[in-house]
Protein backbone atom coordinates (compact mmCIF):
# COMPACT_ATOMS: atom_id res chain seq x y z
CA UNK A 1 0.00 0.00 0.00
CA UNK A 2 1.16 3.47 -0.74
CA UNK A 3 2.08 5.74 2.11
CA UNK A 4 2.09 9.49 2.30
CA UNK A 5 5.87 9.69 2.65
CA UNK A 6 6.48 7.82 -0.61
CA UNK A 7 3.97 9.95 -2.48
CA UNK A 8 5.40 13.22 -1.23
CA UNK A 9 8.93 12.00 -1.97
CA UNK A 10 8.03 11.40 -5.61
CA UNK A 11 6.34 14.78 -5.90
CA UNK A 12 9.33 16.55 -4.36
CA UNK A 13 11.69 14.75 -6.74
CA UNK A 14 9.71 15.95 -9.74
CA UNK A 15 8.79 19.45 -8.55
CA UNK A 16 11.93 20.53 -6.75
CA UNK A 17 14.75 18.25 -7.79
CA UNK A 18 14.23 18.22 -11.55
CA UNK A 19 13.51 14.50 -11.86
CA UNK A 20 12.53 13.80 -15.43
CA UNK A 21 12.64 11.31 -18.24
CA UNK A 22 15.15 12.91 -20.53
CA UNK A 23 14.08 11.24 -23.71
CA UNK A 24 11.88 8.69 -25.38
CA UNK A 25 13.78 7.76 -28.49
CA UNK A 26 12.24 5.71 -31.24
CA UNK A 27 14.82 3.75 -33.19
CA UNK A 28 13.78 3.19 -36.82
CA UNK A 29 15.65 1.00 -39.27
CA UNK A 30 15.98 2.53 -42.72
CA UNK A 31 17.63 -0.52 -44.27
CA UNK A 32 14.50 -1.25 -46.30
CA UNK A 33 14.63 2.26 -47.80
CA UNK A 34 17.78 1.46 -49.83
CA UNK A 35 17.60 2.08 -53.56
CA UNK A 36 19.99 3.04 -56.33
CA UNK A 37 17.99 6.21 -56.97
CA UNK A 38 18.60 8.88 -54.31
CA UNK A 39 15.23 10.59 -54.77
CA UNK A 40 13.35 7.34 -54.29
CA UNK A 41 15.44 6.71 -51.15
CA UNK A 42 14.47 10.12 -49.78
CA UNK A 43 10.79 9.50 -50.42
CA UNK A 44 10.93 6.10 -48.70
CA UNK A 45 12.81 7.53 -45.72
CA UNK A 46 10.27 10.32 -45.32
CA UNK A 47 7.35 7.92 -45.58
CA UNK A 48 8.80 5.40 -43.16
CA UNK A 49 9.70 7.94 -40.47
CA UNK A 50 6.43 9.84 -40.67
CA UNK A 51 4.45 6.58 -40.51
CA UNK A 52 6.35 4.90 -37.71
CA UNK A 53 6.75 8.00 -35.57
CA UNK A 54 3.40 9.60 -36.39
CA UNK A 55 2.11 9.21 -32.82
CA UNK A 56 5.42 9.38 -30.93
CA UNK A 57 5.06 12.96 -29.70
CA UNK A 58 1.36 12.62 -28.95
CA UNK A 59 1.86 9.44 -26.90
CA UNK A 60 4.85 10.99 -25.11
CA UNK A 61 2.76 13.97 -24.08
CA UNK A 62 -0.11 11.72 -23.00
CA UNK A 63 2.15 9.70 -20.70
CA UNK A 64 3.71 12.88 -19.39
CA UNK A 65 0.33 14.15 -18.34
CA UNK A 66 -1.13 10.94 -16.92
CA UNK A 67 1.84 10.07 -14.80
CA UNK A 68 2.86 13.62 -14.02
CA UNK A 69 6.47 13.03 -15.12
CA UNK A 70 8.10 15.55 -17.42
CA UNK A 71 9.39 13.88 -20.58
CA UNK A 72 11.77 16.49 -21.91
CA UNK A 73 12.49 15.18 -25.39
CA UNK A 74 10.92 12.93 -27.98
CA UNK A 75 13.53 11.85 -30.49
CA UNK A 76 14.20 9.51 -33.36
CA UNK A 77 17.33 7.56 -34.18
CA UNK A 78 17.82 6.00 -37.59
CA UNK A 79 20.17 3.56 -39.30
CA UNK A 80 23.54 5.23 -40.01
CA UNK A 81 22.84 7.15 -43.20
CA UNK A 82 26.18 6.13 -44.72
CA UNK A 83 24.84 2.57 -44.95
CA UNK A 84 21.79 3.77 -46.88
CA UNK A 85 23.88 6.04 -49.07
CA UNK A 86 26.10 3.09 -50.02
CA UNK A 87 23.39 1.74 -52.34
CA UNK A 88 22.80 5.03 -54.17
CA UNK A 89 24.41 5.66 -57.56
CA UNK A 90 24.59 9.39 -56.92
CA UNK A 91 26.14 9.94 -53.51
CA UNK A 92 24.27 13.06 -52.46
CA UNK A 93 23.96 12.81 -48.68
CA UNK A 94 22.65 16.36 -48.26
CA UNK A 95 19.41 15.35 -49.95
CA UNK A 96 18.93 12.76 -47.23
CA UNK A 97 19.83 15.32 -44.55
CA UNK A 98 17.13 17.66 -45.80
CA UNK A 99 14.65 14.78 -45.95
CA UNK A 100 15.40 13.86 -42.35
CA UNK A 101 14.93 17.48 -41.32
CA UNK A 102 11.58 17.61 -43.09
CA UNK A 103 10.48 14.34 -41.45
CA UNK A 104 11.59 15.57 -38.01
CA UNK A 105 9.51 18.73 -38.43
CA UNK A 106 6.52 16.76 -39.71
CA UNK A 107 6.33 14.49 -36.66
CA UNK A 108 7.39 17.21 -34.22
CA UNK A 109 10.39 15.52 -32.57
CA UNK A 110 13.19 17.49 -30.92
CA UNK A 111 16.06 15.71 -32.64
CA UNK A 112 16.75 13.01 -35.17
CA UNK A 113 20.06 11.18 -34.83
CA UNK A 114 21.82 8.90 -37.25
CA UNK A 115 23.51 11.11 -39.80
CA UNK A 116 26.32 8.76 -39.08
CA UNK A 117 29.04 6.49 -40.40
CA UNK A 118 30.79 3.52 -38.78
CA UNK A 119 34.37 3.54 -40.01
CA UNK A 120 36.35 1.94 -37.18
CA UNK A 121 38.18 -0.33 -39.60
CA UNK A 122 37.98 1.62 -42.84
CA UNK A 123 35.80 3.51 -45.27
CA UNK A 124 33.12 1.64 -47.26
CA UNK A 125 31.02 3.06 -50.09
CA UNK A 126 29.22 6.19 -48.96
CA UNK A 127 31.19 6.67 -45.73
CA UNK A 128 33.63 9.30 -46.96
CA UNK A 129 30.93 11.24 -48.85
CA UNK A 130 28.73 11.29 -45.78
CA UNK A 131 31.51 12.38 -43.42
CA UNK A 132 32.59 15.17 -45.74
CA UNK A 133 29.01 16.43 -45.95
CA UNK A 134 28.53 16.61 -42.16
CA UNK A 135 29.53 20.29 -41.69
CA UNK A 136 27.09 21.46 -44.32
CA UNK A 137 24.33 19.11 -43.18
CA UNK A 138 24.59 20.44 -39.62
CA UNK A 139 24.69 24.04 -40.84
CA UNK A 140 21.57 23.81 -43.00
CA UNK A 141 19.39 21.82 -40.55
CA UNK A 142 18.26 22.36 -36.96
CA UNK A 143 17.15 18.92 -35.80
CA UNK A 144 19.79 16.56 -37.17
CA UNK A 145 22.51 15.03 -35.05
CA UNK A 146 25.55 13.33 -36.46
CA UNK A 147 28.05 10.81 -35.16
CA UNK A 148 31.02 8.92 -36.52
CA UNK A 149 32.52 5.81 -34.94
CA UNK A 150 36.26 5.89 -35.57
CA UNK A 151 37.42 3.07 -33.32
CA UNK A 152 36.49 -0.01 -31.34
CA UNK A 153 38.21 -2.42 -28.98
CA UNK A 154 37.80 -5.19 -31.55
CA UNK A 155 38.93 -3.17 -34.59
CA UNK A 156 41.43 -0.64 -33.26
CA UNK A 157 41.41 3.04 -34.22
CA UNK A 158 41.12 4.22 -37.81
CA UNK A 159 43.58 7.12 -37.72
CA UNK A 160 42.73 8.22 -41.27
CA UNK A 161 39.19 8.82 -40.03
CA UNK A 162 40.54 10.56 -36.92
CA UNK A 163 42.55 12.93 -39.14
CA UNK A 164 39.49 13.58 -41.28
CA UNK A 165 37.24 14.26 -38.27
CA UNK A 166 39.55 16.99 -36.97
CA UNK A 167 38.89 18.89 -40.20
CA UNK A 168 35.16 18.09 -40.16
CA UNK A 169 34.71 19.39 -36.60
CA UNK A 170 36.58 22.59 -37.44
CA UNK A 171 34.64 23.11 -40.66
CA UNK A 172 31.30 22.49 -38.89
CA UNK A 173 32.20 25.30 -36.49
CA UNK A 174 33.25 27.66 -39.29
CA UNK A 175 30.01 27.15 -41.20
CA UNK A 176 27.95 28.02 -38.11
CA UNK A 177 30.21 30.78 -36.74
CA UNK A 178 27.30 33.24 -36.94
CA UNK A 179 25.23 31.00 -34.60
CA UNK A 180 27.76 30.55 -31.79
CA UNK A 181 29.33 27.65 -33.71
CA UNK A 182 26.42 25.31 -32.92
CA UNK A 183 27.34 22.86 -35.73
CA UNK A 184 29.87 20.73 -33.82
CA UNK A 185 27.56 20.69 -30.76
CA UNK A 186 25.48 18.26 -32.83
CA UNK A 187 28.42 16.05 -33.81
CA UNK A 188 29.97 13.24 -31.75
CA UNK A 189 33.08 11.25 -32.61
CA UNK A 190 32.92 7.84 -30.92
CA UNK A 191 35.05 4.90 -30.01
CA UNK A 192 32.94 1.80 -29.21
CA UNK A 193 29.67 3.57 -30.07
CA UNK A 194 26.62 1.81 -28.60
CA UNK A 195 23.96 0.85 -31.14
CA UNK A 196 20.98 1.52 -28.90
CA UNK A 197 21.86 4.85 -27.32
CA UNK A 198 18.81 7.12 -26.92
CA UNK A 199 20.85 10.24 -26.07
CA UNK A 200 21.85 12.90 -28.56
CA UNK A 201 23.96 13.82 -30.30
CA UNK A 202 25.32 10.28 -30.52
CA UNK A 203 22.10 8.33 -31.09
CA UNK A 204 21.82 6.07 -34.11
CA UNK A 205 19.91 2.86 -34.77
CA UNK A 206 22.52 0.13 -35.12
CA UNK A 207 22.38 -2.50 -37.85
CA UNK A 208 21.76 -5.25 -35.26
CA UNK A 209 18.60 -3.58 -33.96
CA UNK A 210 15.01 -4.58 -34.81
CA UNK A 211 12.93 -2.65 -37.35
CA UNK A 212 11.50 -0.27 -34.79
CA UNK A 213 12.17 0.02 -31.06
CA UNK A 214 11.61 2.32 -28.08
CA UNK A 215 14.59 3.28 -25.94
CA UNK A 216 14.32 5.54 -22.93
CA UNK A 217 16.94 7.69 -21.23
CA UNK A 218 16.33 8.72 -17.64
CA UNK A 219 17.90 11.57 -15.78
CA UNK A 220 18.00 12.98 -12.26
CA UNK A 221 21.27 14.46 -11.00
CA UNK A 222 19.23 16.84 -8.82
CA UNK A 223 17.56 13.94 -7.00
CA UNK A 224 20.89 12.27 -6.21
CA UNK A 225 22.38 15.54 -4.97
CA UNK A 226 19.38 16.26 -2.76
CA UNK A 227 19.50 12.74 -1.27
CA UNK A 228 23.20 13.19 -0.45
CA UNK A 229 22.57 16.61 1.05
CA UNK A 230 19.92 15.14 3.37
CA UNK A 231 22.22 12.29 4.40
CA UNK A 232 24.87 14.63 5.81
CA UNK A 233 28.29 13.35 6.91
CA UNK A 234 28.06 9.61 6.29
CA UNK A 235 30.99 7.52 5.01
CA UNK A 236 31.44 6.60 1.34
CA UNK A 237 29.92 3.14 1.75
CA UNK A 238 26.73 4.84 2.86
CA UNK A 239 27.05 7.36 0.01
CA UNK A 240 27.26 4.53 -2.53
CA UNK A 241 24.23 2.81 -0.98
CA UNK A 242 22.22 5.99 -1.07
CA UNK A 243 23.06 6.62 -4.73
CA UNK A 244 22.06 3.04 -5.57
CA UNK A 245 18.71 3.43 -3.84
CA UNK A 246 18.03 6.72 -5.59
CA UNK A 247 19.10 5.39 -8.99
CA UNK A 248 16.76 2.44 -8.47
CA UNK A 249 13.76 4.75 -8.01
CA UNK A 250 14.68 6.95 -10.95
CA UNK A 251 15.10 3.94 -13.19
CA UNK A 252 11.84 2.32 -12.12
CA UNK A 253 10.11 5.46 -13.29
CA UNK A 254 11.94 5.23 -16.63
CA UNK A 255 10.99 1.57 -16.96
CA UNK A 256 7.32 2.42 -16.40
CA UNK A 257 7.42 5.16 -19.03
CA UNK A 258 9.25 2.89 -21.46
CA UNK A 259 6.82 0.00 -21.13
CA UNK A 260 3.81 2.30 -21.39
CA UNK A 261 5.22 4.03 -24.48
CA UNK A 262 6.04 0.68 -26.02
CA UNK A 263 2.53 -0.66 -25.33
CA UNK A 264 0.71 2.41 -26.62
CA UNK A 265 2.79 2.71 -29.76
CA UNK A 266 2.80 -1.03 -30.47
CA UNK A 267 6.56 -0.96 -30.77
CA UNK A 268 8.89 -3.30 -28.80
CA UNK A 269 10.77 -1.93 -25.80
CA UNK A 270 14.52 -1.89 -26.32
CA UNK A 271 16.51 -0.60 -23.38
CA UNK A 272 16.65 1.89 -20.56
CA UNK A 273 19.76 4.03 -20.58
CA UNK A 274 20.73 4.53 -16.93
CA UNK A 275 22.26 7.91 -17.09
CA UNK A 276 22.61 10.97 -14.95
CA UNK A 277 22.17 13.59 -17.63
CA UNK A 278 22.55 17.15 -16.37
CA UNK A 279 20.89 20.27 -17.75
CA UNK A 280 22.04 23.87 -17.37
CA UNK A 281 19.16 24.41 -14.88
CA UNK A 282 20.21 25.12 -11.32
CA UNK A 283 19.95 21.95 -9.24
CA UNK A 284 20.38 19.56 -12.17
CA UNK A 285 24.13 19.22 -12.17
CA UNK A 286 26.47 16.20 -11.97
CA UNK A 287 29.31 18.50 -10.82
CA UNK A 288 27.20 19.52 -7.84
CA UNK A 289 26.82 15.86 -6.82
CA UNK A 290 30.60 15.51 -6.79
CA UNK A 291 30.85 18.71 -4.76
CA UNK A 292 28.16 17.44 -2.38
CA UNK A 293 30.33 14.34 -1.88
CA UNK A 294 33.00 16.63 -0.46
CA UNK A 295 34.96 18.44 -3.14
CA UNK A 296 35.43 22.20 -2.92
CA UNK A 297 35.04 22.43 -6.68
CA UNK A 298 34.60 19.92 -9.49
CA UNK A 299 38.03 19.35 -11.07
CA UNK A 300 39.89 19.21 -7.74
CA UNK A 301 42.02 16.16 -6.99
CA UNK A 302 39.58 13.46 -5.91
CA UNK A 303 37.11 14.26 -8.69
CA UNK A 304 37.93 11.10 -10.64
CA UNK A 305 37.47 8.91 -7.55
CA UNK A 306 34.17 10.55 -6.65
CA UNK A 307 32.92 10.20 -10.21
CA UNK A 308 33.96 6.53 -10.35
CA UNK A 309 31.91 5.81 -7.23
CA UNK A 310 28.93 7.76 -8.57
CA UNK A 311 29.01 6.12 -11.99
CA UNK A 312 29.27 2.60 -10.60
CA UNK A 313 26.55 3.12 -7.99
CA UNK A 314 24.13 4.55 -10.57
CA UNK A 315 24.55 1.41 -12.68
CA UNK A 316 24.23 -0.97 -9.74
CA UNK A 317 21.04 0.70 -8.55
CA UNK A 318 19.56 1.02 -12.01
CA UNK A 319 20.26 -2.46 -13.34
CA UNK A 320 17.88 -4.13 -10.92
CA UNK A 321 15.13 -1.64 -11.69
CA UNK A 322 14.98 -2.34 -15.40
CA UNK A 323 14.42 -5.43 -17.52
CA UNK A 324 16.92 -4.35 -20.19
CA UNK A 325 19.74 -1.89 -19.77
CA UNK A 326 21.89 -0.50 -22.56
CA UNK A 327 22.98 2.64 -24.33
CA UNK A 328 25.62 4.73 -22.65
CA UNK A 329 24.47 4.10 -19.05
CA UNK A 330 26.51 6.21 -16.65
CA UNK A 331 27.05 9.77 -15.51
CA UNK A 332 27.41 12.37 -18.25
CA UNK A 333 29.86 15.21 -17.89
CA UNK A 334 29.00 17.67 -20.68
CA UNK A 335 30.62 20.94 -19.62
CA UNK A 336 28.29 23.50 -21.19
CA UNK A 337 25.16 21.57 -20.15
CA UNK A 338 25.98 21.47 -16.46
CA UNK A 339 25.80 24.54 -14.21
CA UNK A 340 28.45 23.17 -11.83
CA UNK A 341 30.86 22.24 -14.62
CA UNK A 342 30.44 25.68 -16.20
CA UNK A 343 31.30 27.36 -12.91
CA UNK A 344 34.28 25.03 -12.37
CA UNK A 345 35.57 25.73 -15.89
CA UNK A 346 35.10 29.48 -15.46
CA UNK A 347 37.16 29.57 -12.28
CA UNK A 348 39.89 27.48 -13.92
CA UNK A 349 39.58 24.52 -11.51
CA UNK A 350 38.27 22.18 -14.20
CA UNK A 351 40.57 21.67 -17.17
CA UNK A 352 40.52 19.47 -20.24
CA UNK A 353 43.25 17.22 -18.86
CA UNK A 354 41.16 16.48 -15.76
CA UNK A 355 38.05 15.92 -17.87
CA UNK A 356 40.01 13.40 -19.91
CA UNK A 357 40.89 11.47 -16.76
CA UNK A 358 37.25 11.61 -15.66
CA UNK A 359 36.13 10.06 -18.94
CA UNK A 360 38.08 6.90 -18.11
CA UNK A 361 35.65 6.13 -15.29
CA UNK A 362 32.34 7.49 -16.48
CA UNK A 363 29.86 7.29 -19.24
CA UNK A 364 30.96 9.12 -22.32
CA UNK A 365 33.87 11.41 -22.98
CA UNK A 366 35.01 14.94 -23.62
CA UNK A 367 31.56 16.34 -24.07
CA UNK A 368 30.43 19.86 -24.96
CA UNK A 369 33.77 21.56 -24.43
CA UNK A 370 34.42 24.92 -26.07
CA UNK A 371 37.97 25.26 -27.33
CA UNK A 372 39.75 28.29 -28.88
CA UNK A 373 38.71 28.98 -32.47
CA UNK A 374 42.27 28.93 -33.75
CA UNK A 375 42.84 25.33 -32.57
CA UNK A 376 44.25 23.41 -35.54
CA UNK A 377 42.40 20.41 -37.03
CA UNK A 378 45.42 18.29 -36.08
CA UNK A 379 45.02 19.18 -32.40
CA UNK A 380 41.31 18.36 -32.58
CA UNK A 381 42.21 15.02 -34.21
CA UNK A 382 44.74 14.37 -31.46
CA UNK A 383 42.12 15.10 -28.77
CA UNK A 384 39.88 12.57 -30.53
CA UNK A 385 42.71 10.01 -30.74
CA UNK A 386 43.53 10.34 -27.02
CA UNK A 387 39.92 9.90 -26.04
CA UNK A 388 39.43 6.96 -28.41
CA UNK A 389 42.52 5.30 -26.94
CA UNK A 390 40.96 5.41 -23.47
CA UNK A 391 37.86 3.68 -24.84
CA UNK A 392 39.91 1.25 -26.90
CA UNK A 393 42.00 -0.02 -24.01
CA UNK A 394 39.25 0.00 -21.39
CA UNK A 395 36.57 -1.60 -23.62
CA UNK A 396 34.15 1.25 -23.05
CA UNK A 397 32.39 3.93 -25.06
CA UNK A 398 34.27 7.19 -25.27
CA UNK A 399 33.48 10.18 -27.41
CA UNK A 400 34.52 13.69 -28.27
CA UNK A 401 32.19 16.61 -28.81
CA UNK A 402 34.31 19.77 -28.78
CA UNK A 403 33.24 23.10 -30.20
CA UNK A 404 35.94 25.28 -31.78
CA UNK A 405 34.74 28.81 -30.94
CA UNK A 406 35.57 30.57 -34.18
CA UNK A 407 37.00 34.06 -33.58
CA UNK A 408 37.06 33.53 -29.81
CA UNK A 409 39.78 32.95 -27.27
CA UNK A 410 40.15 31.46 -23.79
CA UNK A 411 37.85 33.34 -21.42
CA UNK A 412 35.26 34.22 -24.08
CA UNK A 413 31.91 32.43 -23.94
CA UNK A 414 29.62 30.58 -26.34
CA UNK A 415 25.89 30.29 -25.73
CA UNK A 416 23.77 27.66 -27.50
CA UNK A 417 20.58 27.94 -25.47
CA UNK A 418 18.21 25.15 -24.48
CA UNK A 419 19.61 21.87 -23.19
CA UNK A 420 22.94 22.52 -24.91
CA UNK A 421 23.59 25.46 -22.57
CA UNK A 422 26.74 27.52 -22.99
CA UNK A 423 30.05 28.15 -21.30
CA UNK A 424 33.59 29.44 -21.40
CA UNK A 425 36.23 28.64 -23.99
CA UNK A 426 38.73 26.34 -22.27
CA UNK A 427 42.48 26.29 -22.95
CA UNK A 428 44.04 23.39 -24.87
CA UNK A 429 47.66 22.31 -25.02
CA UNK A 430 48.99 23.90 -28.21
CA UNK A 431 52.12 21.75 -28.79
CA UNK A 432 51.74 20.23 -32.26
CA UNK A 433 50.73 16.59 -32.75
CA UNK A 434 50.63 17.16 -36.55
CA UNK A 435 53.23 14.55 -37.49
CA UNK A 436 51.50 11.81 -35.52
CA UNK A 437 48.13 12.64 -37.07
CA UNK A 438 49.50 12.87 -40.64
CA UNK A 439 50.96 9.38 -40.39
CA UNK A 440 47.46 7.93 -40.82
CA UNK A 441 46.91 4.16 -40.81
CA UNK A 442 45.37 2.22 -37.96
CA UNK A 443 46.14 1.72 -34.31
CA UNK A 444 45.83 -2.07 -33.93
CA UNK A 445 43.19 -3.66 -31.71
CA UNK A 446 44.55 -4.11 -28.19
CA UNK A 447 45.34 -7.26 -26.26
CA UNK A 448 42.47 -8.21 -23.97
CA UNK A 449 44.49 -9.94 -21.30
CA UNK A 450 47.60 -8.95 -19.29
CA UNK A 451 45.53 -6.01 -18.02
CA UNK A 452 47.83 -3.47 -16.42
Amino acid sequence: MLNAHDILETITMIQEENLDVRTITMGISLLDCCDSDIDRVCQRIYDKITTRAARLVEVGEQIEKEYGIPIINKRISVTPIAMILAACEKKEPLKIALTLERAACAVGVNFIGGYSALVQKGFAAGDRELIESIPEALACTDHICSSVNIGSTKAGINMDAVALMGKVVKRAAELTADRDCIGPAKLVVFCNAPEDNPFMAGAFHGPGEPDCVINVGVSGPGVVRAALAKAGDCDLTAVADLIKRTAFKITRMGQLVASEASRRLGVPFGIIDLSLAPTPAVGDSVAHILEEMGLECCGAHGTTAALALLNDAVKKGGVMASSHVGGLSGAFIPVTEDAGMIAAAQCGCLRIEKLEAMTAVCSVGLDMINIPGDTSPEIISAIIADEAAIGLINSKSTAVRVIPAIGKQVGDELSFGGLLGGGPVMPVNTASPARLIHRGGRIPAPLQSLKN
Binding site: L2, A4, D6, I7, T10, Q15, E66, Y67, G68, L256
Partner: protein, 89 residues
Protein backbone atom coordinates in the same frame (compact mmCIF):
# COMPACT_ATOMS: atom_id res chain seq x y z
CA UNK B 1 -7.50 2.44 -12.62
CA UNK B 2 -6.69 4.58 -9.63
CA UNK B 3 -5.07 7.97 -9.36
CA UNK B 4 -3.43 9.94 -6.59
CA UNK B 5 -4.33 13.60 -6.07
CA UNK B 6 -2.01 15.65 -3.90
CA UNK B 7 -2.81 19.14 -2.73
CA UNK B 8 -0.18 21.27 -1.02
CA UNK B 9 -0.46 24.90 0.03
CA UNK B 10 -1.77 27.39 2.54
CA UNK B 11 -4.70 26.07 4.55
CA UNK B 12 -8.11 27.62 3.93
CA UNK B 13 -11.78 26.76 4.19
CA UNK B 14 -13.20 24.34 1.65
CA UNK B 15 -10.16 22.71 0.01
CA UNK B 16 -11.35 19.15 0.57
CA UNK B 17 -14.90 20.10 -0.43
CA UNK B 18 -13.91 21.71 -3.70
CA UNK B 19 -11.56 18.92 -4.77
CA UNK B 20 -14.14 16.25 -3.90
CA UNK B 21 -16.81 18.23 -5.78
CA UNK B 22 -14.77 18.05 -8.99
CA UNK B 23 -14.37 14.29 -8.47
CA UNK B 24 -18.10 13.83 -7.84
CA UNK B 25 -18.99 15.89 -10.94
CA UNK B 26 -17.20 13.35 -13.10
CA UNK B 27 -18.33 10.17 -11.34
CA UNK B 28 -14.96 9.67 -9.68
CA UNK B 29 -15.09 7.83 -6.36
CA UNK B 30 -12.84 8.93 -3.49
CA UNK B 31 -11.31 5.83 -1.90
CA UNK B 32 -9.02 7.23 0.74
CA UNK B 33 -7.98 10.61 2.09
CA UNK B 34 -5.12 11.55 4.38
CA UNK B 35 -4.44 15.12 5.30
CA UNK B 36 -2.18 16.94 7.66
CA UNK B 37 -1.70 20.53 8.63
CA UNK B 38 1.75 21.62 9.76
CA UNK B 39 1.56 25.16 11.12
CA UNK B 40 -0.59 26.68 8.38
CA UNK B 41 0.61 24.45 5.50
CA UNK B 42 -1.98 22.06 4.24
CA UNK B 43 -1.05 18.72 2.66
CA UNK B 44 -3.69 16.32 1.42
CA UNK B 45 -3.33 13.04 -0.43
CA UNK B 46 -6.40 11.52 -1.97
CA UNK B 47 -6.70 8.14 -3.68
CA UNK B 48 -9.52 8.06 -6.25
CA UNK B 49 -11.01 5.47 -8.59
CA UNK B 50 -11.19 6.89 -12.11
CA UNK B 51 -12.62 3.78 -13.75
CA UNK B 52 -16.08 5.34 -14.18
CA UNK B 53 -14.90 8.86 -14.94
CA UNK B 54 -16.89 10.64 -17.67
CA UNK B 55 -13.88 12.67 -18.89
CA UNK B 56 -10.45 11.59 -20.13
CA UNK B 57 -7.87 11.43 -17.35
CA UNK B 58 -5.77 14.28 -18.73
CA UNK B 59 -8.80 16.61 -18.86
CA UNK B 60 -9.62 15.74 -15.26
CA UNK B 61 -6.01 16.44 -14.24
CA UNK B 62 -6.11 19.81 -16.04
CA UNK B 63 -9.33 20.78 -14.31
CA UNK B 64 -7.83 20.09 -10.88
CA UNK B 65 -4.67 21.99 -11.77
CA UNK B 66 -6.81 24.99 -12.73
CA UNK B 67 -8.77 24.68 -9.49
CA UNK B 68 -5.46 24.62 -7.60
CA UNK B 69 -4.21 27.70 -9.38
CA UNK B 70 -7.39 29.62 -8.55
CA UNK B 71 -6.88 28.81 -4.85
CA UNK B 72 -3.07 29.30 -4.90
CA UNK B 73 -2.51 25.62 -4.14
CA UNK B 74 -0.24 23.15 -5.85
CA UNK B 75 -2.36 20.24 -7.07
CA UNK B 76 -0.93 17.15 -8.79
CA UNK B 77 -3.00 14.36 -10.23
CA UNK B 78 -1.01 11.31 -11.17
CA UNK B 79 -1.65 7.70 -12.08
CA UNK B 80 -0.96 5.46 -9.07
CA UNK B 81 1.42 3.23 -11.06
CA UNK B 82 4.15 5.85 -10.88
CA UNK B 83 4.25 5.57 -7.08
CA UNK B 84 3.89 1.79 -7.08
CA UNK B 85 6.75 1.34 -9.50
CA UNK B 86 9.07 3.73 -7.70
CA UNK B 87 8.45 2.55 -4.16
CA UNK B 88 7.68 -1.15 -4.31
CA UNK B 89 9.62 -4.02 -5.83
Amino acid sequence: MRAVITVIGKDMVGILAKVSAVCADHGINVLEVTQSILQDMFAMIMMVDIEKSDVPFTAFADELTRLGESMHLSVHTMHEDIFNSMHTI
